[in-house]
């Protein structure tokens, strides 16, 4: 395999079965949206204290993962690692569809989704939110051109600069997403500069975990071949990313512990926050980080495809837990109006705000994930995104060839 040949997904019954199932979930998500839109947000668990809920957890998760997935392409074309090159097209595609899924959830949760045009015609350039609208649309456009440069031979020379641009853009995008929270100076739980790099680290590991699962699904479902050589690289990289995320999360909490005004919220998340403390330690640290790290590196499990899948799933469970703690835990902790004083009111001042996810919110969020996957499946069926094979043999030949 001197040149990589690409192909479409085969249109077997398995393909249509899976696509149908995904479409059903998307439809259910859309139904959840209609339900929420018709009644208003009182049918959700969100309220005037916890104003962003489960839809935002899913949306942020998807957006962060989208920028992370693109790394697989960048590593190949920007950093010239041949082992990753064959996957560039798929990575670019998944980056776009995951972002679409996330944005759809975000938009459908608005109080006035019908005013999307307003959001696109009225800009407040001071708002990091408005900036993000540019970052997101720009990301999709740049990655689309990047894909084109990879897929169209005449455009090939541009694939490296486009890949570089896409890589820089994705760093800005994740920084922008992190800054949505980082700029909220009024909230003790968010006001941290390290929020942006932490989101970048998170994106690396969420994105790669999703990518690994997609690759394994293609292997299992469509008889596509992924050799042990490539898989081993990817899973080791995932381990590095998990560790990096853990490091930045620890860094954020340590810097917060340094500032006295943040002690309250830190104690809340880390020690006495009930569900949030549980989700942080058990959900993110144990299940989402330490366990998969162990699975990926332990000799008994590290070589097994099944365990790599398990580890990737755990990373994603931990990812959702972490985003949940950041978004909802950060709002559950009461705003401090009078430091050191005891306050009470009819509007939940001074008490931990309650929030419980409601069914429509969860269905809407899951619908976003299904939408991202379904879009990717359709695109892979019509265009050539998948390398013919990534068996060890083929990769060996390819590596040899690219050396000369």
């Amino acid at each position: 395999m001197k040149h990589i040949t690409y192909r479409e997904l085969p249109g077997r019954s398995g393909y249509y079965g899976l696509l149908g199932a995904l479409a059903l979930v998307v439809l259910m998500g859309f139904g959840a949206f209609l339900f929420m839109e018709h009644h208003g947000h009182y049918v959700t668990g969100m309220n005037n204290q916890v104003v962003w809920g489960t839809p935002h957890v899913f949306a942020v998760f998807l957006i962060v993962a989208a920028s992370g997935v693109l790394n697989m392409a960048s590593i190949g074309s920007v950093f010239g690692k041949s082992m990753y090159k064959p996957l560039g097209r798929m990575a670019g595609l998944l980056a776009i569809t995951l972002l679409m899924g996330g944005l759809t959830v975000l938009v459908l949760d608005l109080g006035h989704p019908d005013r999307l045009i307003v959001a696109m015609t009225h800009y407040n350039f001071k708002s990091i939110f408005a900036w993000n609208i540019f970052l997101y649309t720009g990301f999709m456009a740049i990655v689309a051109v990047y894909l084109w440069s990879m897929m169209e031979r005449r455009m090939n020379p541009y694939s490296k600069p486009m890949g570089f641009l896409a890589f820089v853009w994705r760093l800005m995008l994740t920084t922008g997403t992190g800054s949505i929270f980082g700029f909220l100076v009024a909230r003790q739980g968010y006001d941290a500069a390290v929020m942006a790099p932490m989101f970048i680290a998170m994106s690396f590991s969420f994105g790669l975990a999703i990518f690994l699962l997609v690759l394994r699904a293609m292997e299992g479902g469509f008889g596509w071949e992924l050799g042990g050589m490539a898989l081993k690289r990817y899973k080791n990289l995932l381990g590095v990313f998990i560790a990096a995320t853990l490091y930045f999360v620890a860094l954020m909490h340590l810097t917060n512990l340094y500032a006295t005004e943040h002690h309250g919220v830190e104690a809340f998340i880390l020690m006495n926050g009930g569900i949030y403390t549980f989700l942080f330690w058990v959900g993110f640290v144990l299940v989402g980080s330490l366990l998969p790290l162990g699975l990926l590196y332990h000799p008994a499990t590290g070589g097994s495809r099944t365990w790599i899948v398990v580890a990737s799933v755990l990373v994603l469970v931990g990812a959702l837990a972490l985003v949940y703690v950041i978004i909802i835990g950060g709002q559950a902790y009461p705003l401090v109006l009078f430091p050191g004083m005891e306050v009470s009111s009819s509007f939940n001042d001074g008490v931990v705000n309650s929030y419980a996810p409601s069914l429509p919110e969860v269905v809407l969020g899951v619908g976003g994930i299904a939408l991202a996957l379904a879009l990717a499946m359709v695109a892979m069926r019509v265009l050539r995104f998948i390398p013919e094979t990534m068996s060890d043999e083929a990769m060996q030949q390819y590596l040899e060839a690219s050396k000369h």
Binding site: N48, S127, L335, L337
Partner: protein, 254 residues
């Protein structure tokens, strides 16, 4: 104001808007409002020469009293002032103004105060709003332009005072001068419709009418106004002054 007929009410307002009335206005026998510095003609845009402010004296604010809150509910048609919001639970219902009880656990000193949109000079809500729906009027009143609010709630995340509410369901029982509706964010408007007509906000009027006199409304930019004089004479506090938002609502006795 209930006792005035529509006719006299109109006349009074007309008088106020036509003439640059600086004197106090007799609302009821013995109750005078010294809030109106310059009444602005209806066709003249607001100007930054005026900065509306509110001074709240916690010493005069009684624990358990919620006259200002009920007055706001009646005036703006939320809470008990409206038949709407029957589906929303207690945490989802709008609250434009609330009474907060504060206690210093070390000394035992306790006080109470009304809390509402502080009409910040540098409002974080307006900074983060993607569409510019949250904005500060030239005279310092911070409003939500519900025509372009998309209901993203980012402003609620950004407001340090929890001053804003999201409307969680369809409404039908709005007041003609206080539009509010599903899917948009709202907050204290400083009774902008009354202020534009030369009156003071409903909460202030109620507090004064009940003889508590804990709230003083007026133009902070006019050195002759009672509020500016008081602020110049006595120590007043901005809540969360560390954030440098320079709120138009100030407090005394906290």
């Amino acid at each position: 104001m209930n006792e005035t007929s529509e006719h006299t009410d109109l006349n009074r307002r007309e008088f106020l808007t036509r003439s640059a009335a600086t004197a106090g206005v007799a609302l009821a026998p013995g109750v005078m409002l010294y809030s109106v510095a310059q009444a602005r003609p209806a066709d003249e845009p607001v100007s930054s020469a005026v900065r509306w402010g509110l001074l709240i004296d916690s010493n005069k604010c009684a624990s358990g009293c919620s006259d200002c809150v009920s007055a706001c509910e009646r005036e703006n048609g939320w809470g008990t002032g409206s038949t709407d919001e029957t589906h929303s639970d207690a945490t989802q219902k709008a609250q434009w103004i609330r009474k907060v009880e504060v206690k210093n656990t070390e000394t035992g000193h306790a006080f109470t105060l009304p809390m509402m949109c502080q009409h910040c000079e540098n409002p974080p809500c307006a900074d983060v709003c993607p569409t510019g729906a949250s904005f500060r009027r030239d005279d310092g009143i911070v409003l939500v332009d519900k025509h372009i609010c998309i209901g993203c709630r980012y402003c609620m995340m950004a407001c340090p005072y929890k001053a804003r509410s999201f409307v969680h369901e369809t409404l039908t029982d709005q007041k003609p001068y206080a539009p509010r509706g599903k899917g948009t964010v709202e907050a204290c408007t400083l009774c902008v419709h009354r202020v534009d007509a030369g009156d003071s906000p409903a909460c202030v009027e109620a507090c004064t009418a009940e003889n508590h006199n804990a709230m003083l409304f007026g133009d902070l930019n006019d050195p002759e106004s009672p509020i500016a004089k008081t602020v110049a004479t006595y120590a007043t506090t901005q809540i969360r002054a560390d954030l440098n938002l320079n709120p138009g609502v100030r407090y005394q006795g906290i």
